[in-house]
Structure formats: structure tokens, C-alpha cells
């Protein structure tokens, strides 16, 4: 019997970089090769954007472009090397996509700088400080954070140990701006920390911390739910609930059985038939299990009310719902959660004037004096999109600087004006790909914590893009979140780099494990197939009944 040929990993893009060695002696798939190719393409994309901008603005190309391109490759090349070192089997798509988005954002921020300095020159004012330079510094910092996360978190499971610490820290970070003294209100939302000259948005950090917390916390919840499913399935097949109840949940509150169920023998009470059963089971696990959920809910509302941060609370709530759905596999929780959210939103609308203003800006953008007053920003952004049309005005040829905060909240309107619908679709596709790759990491992760964490992180990015772009495009009320990787803003850039690094860490763990399992199994492929199945005990089943009971 000859052994089958060793499994060959298919090269996705090209074999140009095939002979780059990988560490640890494990033959790893050429993910890094694909990544490098995509990264080079991202660099070309950024350089081309800068060239097009310079050509439109100055009328000729200068060697400065080459300097910037070199800078791009040095920064992201560093990330690539860090990944080769620390996460050689991680997903090849996530990092180049982020690099491309970041490059595109940088070019757009630079373009808005140019517009501002031109306006200042014409008016004879001093040229304002460049936002693009600050953003480059932040990009460098986020690249370092990226490498640090990959280097320090060598196994994502260790994060599960800090579930409750992360939850507490996340809530503290979330609430810090509300404190007088260090908290600062910028642009109408109190979500900044100001220490000396630096201002920082702690909610971006708590995004990651809360993702770890939700994943770790709901992991246990998921186990409770699946126990509930198994019991239900077994009861259906045997008709004897009490006898079939096994496994994780044994210590149940006496007397907590669902309606219509016969009270089972004293020590084993089955309450799994109803959702109240699940809730009472969570309750019975002690305060450790329900206090965090209540605290999260209260904090979410607190953020909404005190810090006036509609975007963050929407983001955290959405993340919680997604993770809850994935952990429990119950659509009902999502429906109930959405219902609660709508109720809370309606209550907020009636109670708080700033929410009413937001809704008025959104629903009545073109009514009365709104277009030149409250809705000015939104309406200018919409005119920007309209001016862009299908193919846009071309980089450097529109007037995106007419929109206030064009380089943070409204950068999508600037991109829409200059790149048009075609460009915006491409950018949204990039985000979609990032989220899809993140979900794929979740799909392949073997441990519940990794699954939930990857889901939470990918969902956060997706929801943030939806909330941001939806707000700018007047689909939902405008909120103050940033567009990941593109918007001007240091905290957001650093936090999103950390999110991608965590996703890559999980992906690396998963794929490396798969590759090693492959390696081990490849030696004796027939052994698995030919080992005699061992049946410990046969269960006598009546011939008439369907024989699908497990042999126990």
C-alpha cells in the first residue's frame, strides 16, 4: 500500500515568492506570499491615488510621491515581517485590505489639507496644521500596536482568563469621559479624555475589551443553551426527561421547572423546555452570571444619556446582540433585543432633547431652515455624493472641503464625491471582505471563546461601517463614530489595528492547528479508517422504533 502524496497547499495568487522559509519546521501554506502580493497592490493603489491627486492639484508629478510610497511600504512591510514572525499561518487578506483602506484615507485627508491650505492662502491666513502628518504618526503608532498585539498575545485562549477583568475595564473606560476634570466634550459628544495635549477616545479601547468580555461571558451562556437543546432532543426521543438529563447542568434550582412539565425527582429538575427555564438557569448560577449583563445594559444606556454618544451605544448593543445570537443560536434573543432597543430608543427620543435634534436633522434634513442650519453638514455631504455621481469628479477635482468635519465623520462623503458610486462600492467591498474573512475565522475556530471573539470583532467592524456610512448617506440618524482605518483619528486607528491583530491571532492559531493535524494524520491515512469501532454497550431498542438513540 503506497501512501498518498503529501497534501499540497494551493497557491492563491502567484508563486513569485514561493521560496520564503517558514519557521518551526512546519510546512505552512503560502499565506504570507498572497499577503505580500496584495500588500504590494495596496501600495500601488495608494501611490496611484496620490499621483492622481498631485496631477490634478499641481498639474505635474513630483518625486515626493515616491517618498510617500516608500513610507507606506516601510510601515506595512514592518507589519508583514511581524506577521511572518508571529502569525505565519494567519489570514492573508485582512492586513492588506486594512493597509489599502488606510492608504486611501491618508490620501483623502491629505487632499482635504490641500484644500484647506489653498483656502487659507487665498484668504491670506496662516496655513492650518496638516492633519495628514498627524495621521501618518498615528498610522506608525497603530502599526507598532499591531505588531505588539501579535507578539504579546500568543494564544487567544489566554484572553479568556481576563473575561471579567476586561469587562470591568471596558466599562470603566466607557464611563471615564463622564468624569469631570479629565473628560472633555469635543464636537458635542463627551467621549474624549484629555491628558495634557493629547486627547483620546477611550470608547475605542473599550470596544475591544467588551468584545473579549462578551465572548468569555456568553461562552458559558452558550454551553447552557446547548445543554437545553440536547435535553430537548433527548426528551423528544425518549419521553423521559429526567433520565436523559446529563452533562454540564446538574445543579439546578429546585422547583424551577417550566409550566406544564411534571415535577421531576428532587435532585434533577428539568426546566429546559422554556426560555424562562434558561433564564432561571442563568439566574441560578449566581450573581456572577447575571450582574455583568445588567451592568452592561445600564452602562450602554448611561453612555447614551450622559456622554451623548449615540454611535458607541449602538455599536456595543449591536455587538452584544450578535454575540448573543451566535452563542445561543436563537433568533428570538435578537428579536427581543431589537424590541428592547427600539423601546429604549423611543424613550430616549421622548426624554432627551439632543436625541430629538439628531432625529430632526435626519428626517427633516431638507425642511425649513434645516439645510443651512442644523442639517448643514448632512445636506452638504449628500450634495457631495450627488456631485460625484457614478464615476466621481476625480481625485483632487471636487469640493469635499465644503462639508464640515470632512476628514473624520464625513470622509465617506468626500470619497463619494471624488470617486463616485463606483469608488464607494469598491471601498464598501473591501469592508465586506474584511468582515467576511473575520466571520470565516470565527467559523473555523475550534473553541467557543475564539469563535465568539472573532464574531464580536468582525461584527463590530461591520456594524461600525454600517452606522457610519448609513449616517452619512441619511439611512439612519447621524452618529459620531469613525470610519475604520479611513477616518482621521488616532484612537480609532490604533483600536482597529488591534482588532485586526486579534483576528489574525485567532486565524493563525486555527490554521496552524489544522496544518499540524494534517501533518500528523498524513503519516498513516488508513489507520483511521480501519480501526475497529468499539461499542461499549449496546442499547436494546424495540424493532418498531427508529433506532437513533446514542449507545451509551
Amino acid at each position: 500500500m503506497t501512501l498518498p502524496p503529501r497534501r499540497q497547499w494551493s497557491a492563491n495568487l502567484t508563486s513569485a515568492f514561493a521560496r520564503v522559509p517558514s519557521p518551526q519546521g512546519v510546512e505552512l501554506p503560502p499565506y504570507r506570499r498572497s499577503e505580500l502580493v496584495l500588500l504590494v497592490a495596496a501600495g500601488i493603489l495608494t501611490t496611484a491615488a496620490l499621483s492622481a491627486l498631485t496631477l490634478a492639484h499641481d498639474g505635474h508629478l513630483t518625486y515626493h510621491i515616491a517618498t510617500y510610497a516608500l513610507g507606506f511600504y516601510v510601515l506595512w512591510g514592518f507589519v508583514h515581517l511581524a506577521m511572518r514572525r508571529f502569525a505565519p499561518a494567519a489570514d492573508p487578506l485582512l492586513m492588506p485590505l486594512c493597509a489599502a483602506l488606510n492608504g486611501l484615507g491618508l490620501v483623502m485627508i491629505y487632499r482635504l489639507d490641500l484644500a484647506r491650505s489653498d483656502a487659507a492662502k487665498q484668504a491670506g491666513r496662516a496655513i492650518p496644521p496638516s492633519a495628514a502628518h498627524t495621521q501618518i504618526v498615528w498610522t506608525a503608532l497603530s502599526v507598532i500596536v499591531f505588531a505588539l498585539v501579535l507578539a504579546l498575545v500568543r494564544n487567544h485562549s489566554t484572553l479568556a482568563r481576563y473575561t471579567f477583568t476586561a469587562g470591568l475595564a471596558g466599562l470603566v473606560f466607557l464611563c471615564l469621559p463622564a468624569l469631570p476634570g479629565i473628560g472633555a466634550t469635543i464636537n458635542g459628544a463627551r467621549l474624549w479624555l484629555r491628558v495634557g495635549p493629547f486627547s483620546f477616545q477611550p470608547s475605542e479601547i473599550s470596544k475591544i475589551l467588551l468584545a473579549i468580555f462578551f465572548a468569555g461571558y456568553l461562552r458559558t451562556f452558550g454551553a447552557l443553551m446547548s445543554a437545553h437543546v440536547v435535553t430537548k432532543a433527548r426528551r423528544r426521543s425518549t419521553g423521559n426527561a429526567a433520565a436523559a438529563l446529563t452533562g454540564a447542568i446538574r445543579r439546578l434550582r429546585p422547583g424551577a421547572h417550566g409550566p406544564g412539565e411534571p415535577a421531576a425527582p428532587a435532585d434533577v429538575t428539568d426546566s429546559s423546555g422554556t426560555y424562562t427555564g434558561v433564564i432561571s438557569r442563568v439566574w441560578s448560577k449566581g450573581p456572577r452570571f447575571y450582574v455583568p449583563a445588567i451592568l452592561t445594559w445600564v452602562a450602554g444606556l448611561g453612555v447614551l444619556v450622559i456622554e451623548r454618544d449615540l454611535g458607541s451605544s449602538l455599536l456595543f448593543f449591536g455587538m452584544f446582540l450578535v454575540v448573543l445570537y451566535v452563542a445561543s443560536e436563537r433568533a428570538r434573543f435578537v428579536v427581543v433585543g431589537l424590541g428592547l432597543f427600539i423601546a429604549a430608543a423611543l424613550a430616549a427620543y421622548h426624554l432627551f432633547s439632543h436625541v430629538q435634534v439628531r432625529v430632526d436633522i435626519w428626517l427633516h434634513a431638507f425642511d425649513g431652515t434645516n439645510p443651512s442650519n442644523k442639517s448643514y453638514q448632512l445636506v452638504q455631504g449628500l450634495y457631495g455624493f450627488a456631485a460625484g455621481g457614478i464615476t466621481g469628479t476625480g481625485l483632487g477635482r471636487g469640493h469635499p472641503n465644503k462639508v464640515p468635519f470632512a476628514n473624520t465623520d464625513f470622509i465617506m462623503a468626500s470619497l463619494g464625491e471624488e470617486l463616485g458610486l463606483t469608488g464607494v462600492m469598491a471601498i464598501l467591498m473591501m469592508y465586506l471582505l474584511i468582515v467576511v474573512r473575520g466571520m470565516r475565522v470565527a467559523l473555523t475556530a475550534p473553541d467557543p471563546f475564539g469563535k465568539l471573539l472573532a464574531t464580536a470583532l468582525a461584527a463590530t467592524l461591520g456594524i461600525q461601517v454600517f452606522v457610519q456610512v448609513g449616517g452619512v448617506m441619511r439611512l439612519i440618524p447621524l452618529t459620531g463614530v469613525t470610519l475604520p482605518f479611513v477616518s482621521y483619528g488616532g484612537s480609532s486607528l490604533v483600536a482597529n489595528a488591534a482588532i485586526i491583530a486579534l483576528l489574525l491571532r485567532i486565524s493563525d492559531t486555527v490554521r496552524r492547528r489544522q496544518a499540524e493535524a494534517q501533518e500528523v494524520l498524513e503519516v498513516e491515512p488508513d489507520q483511521v479508517a480501519n480501526v475497529q469501532t468499539e461499542i461499549v454497550r449496546r442499547v436494546e431498542v424495540p424493532e418498531t422504533q427508529e433506532t437513533h438513540e446514542p449507545a451509551e
Binding site: R6, G394, T422
Partner: protein, 182 residues
């Protein structure tokens, strides 16, 4: 207005060129994902004809699974001493990308998974490399989960220990559903 401003046509070409480049990048990225979702392209499959590409048996269309040849020298349980009077003669894939595939039963264990040397090679994100196997024992077939990530289900019940599979009972692995037929 600006005398240094380049030709309108040049700028139009630059604009269109840039958008093309943007989408080329997106498509390049999609192409890298493609192999995960749809299996290798025809070219990749042809290239891997000598050494099998692990992703799946054929790139598209009615996929033909590689069915293991019966091996000599292994005792085949005879139908005569089996407790089941009507032993199944074939395994049929009823749902999933390989639907319609029939595997004749030889008395050999059938391994199912993404690994290229499985009897039934699945191309499914939900399937593990070695996902499950079907083993004959005393004339009955048992399904056994090989510690797969996403589980094997026999009629909505998760397979944790080897379970006997009756005729027509659906065995679900990821998107694929199998059943024994006479």
C-alpha cells in the same frame, strides 16, 4: 482656470484608470478568497492533477467524489449472518454540493471529510479534515464522529458515540446529507 492645469482628457483617463485600479485590487482580493468559497479554479485543479489539491475533487459542475476501491484481504460481513434482513447496498448523498452521488457499499468503512484521502471528499467549510466515518458492524452501519469541529448529526441528534444508522435515516455533515438505501 489654472494654466498649469493638465488636459481635461488626461484627467478623465486618470480618473477612469484609478477606479479600474481600485476594482482590480478588490477583485484580486476576492480571487484570493475565491478558492476558499468555490474551490480551486479549473487552472489550479489542472495544475494539481499530478499532486492532488486538497480543496476538493473537482472545481465545479457535478462534482464526482473519489470512491475508494475495495481492498482485498479484509473480511466483508456477509448478508447471511447479519441481523438486519435488508442490509443497505449503497450510500446516497441527498443534499449538498455532491447531491446525487452514490457510493456502493463494499463492507469497507467509509471515511468522510475534507482530507483528500477520505472515501467521500467534502468541500465544505463546516466539515473537518477527518469528520466522520461509517463503519459496518454485525451487518449494521454505524456512524461515528471523529471529533469534528462542527459535529455530525443523525436525524437532528448530535452524534457523540457510534450510533446505528437505519435505512433512510439522514446523516448530516455540514451542508451534506447522506443516507443509506437498499
Amino acid at each position: 482656470m489654472d494654466p498649469t492645469q493638465p488636459n481635461e482628457l488626461v484627467l478623465l483617463l486618470v480618473k477612469i484608470g484609478y477606479l479600474t485600479l481600485l476594482w482590480a485590487f478588490v477583485l484580486l482580493a476576492v480571487r484570493a478568497v475565491r478558492a476558499d468559497v468555490l474551490g480551486p479554479t479549473r487552472r489550479q485543479a489542472r495544475r494539481g492533477a499530478g499532486a492532488p489539491v486538497g480543496r476538493g475533487p473537482t472545481p465545479r459542475g457535478p462534482a464526482r467524489p473519489r470512491v475508494a476501491q475495495p481492498r482485498a484481504g479484509i473480511q466483508v460481513p456477509s448478508a447471511l449472518n447479519a441481523p438486519n434482513a435488508y442490509p443497505p447496498s449503497k450510500l446516497v448523498v441527498t443534499k449538498g454540493p455532491l447531491a446525487g452521488t452514490v457510493i456502493p457499499l463494499t463492507g469497507e468503512p467509509i471515511t468522510i471529510g475534507r482530507a483528500p484521502d477520505s472515501t467521500l471528499v467534502l468541500d465544505d467549510d463546516f466539515a473537518s479534515g477527518r469528520h466522520a466515518r461509517l463503519v459496518p458492524h454485525d451487518g449494521r452501519w454505524f456512524v461515528e464522529d471523529l471529533n469534528s469541529t462542527n459535529g455530525t448529526f443523525l436525524e437532528h441528534t448530535k452524534v457523540t458515540t457510534p450510533m446505528p444508522v437505519s435505512l433512510g435515516a439522514p446523516v448530516r455533515i455540514g451542508k451534506t446529507v447522506l443516507e443509506f438505501r437498499r
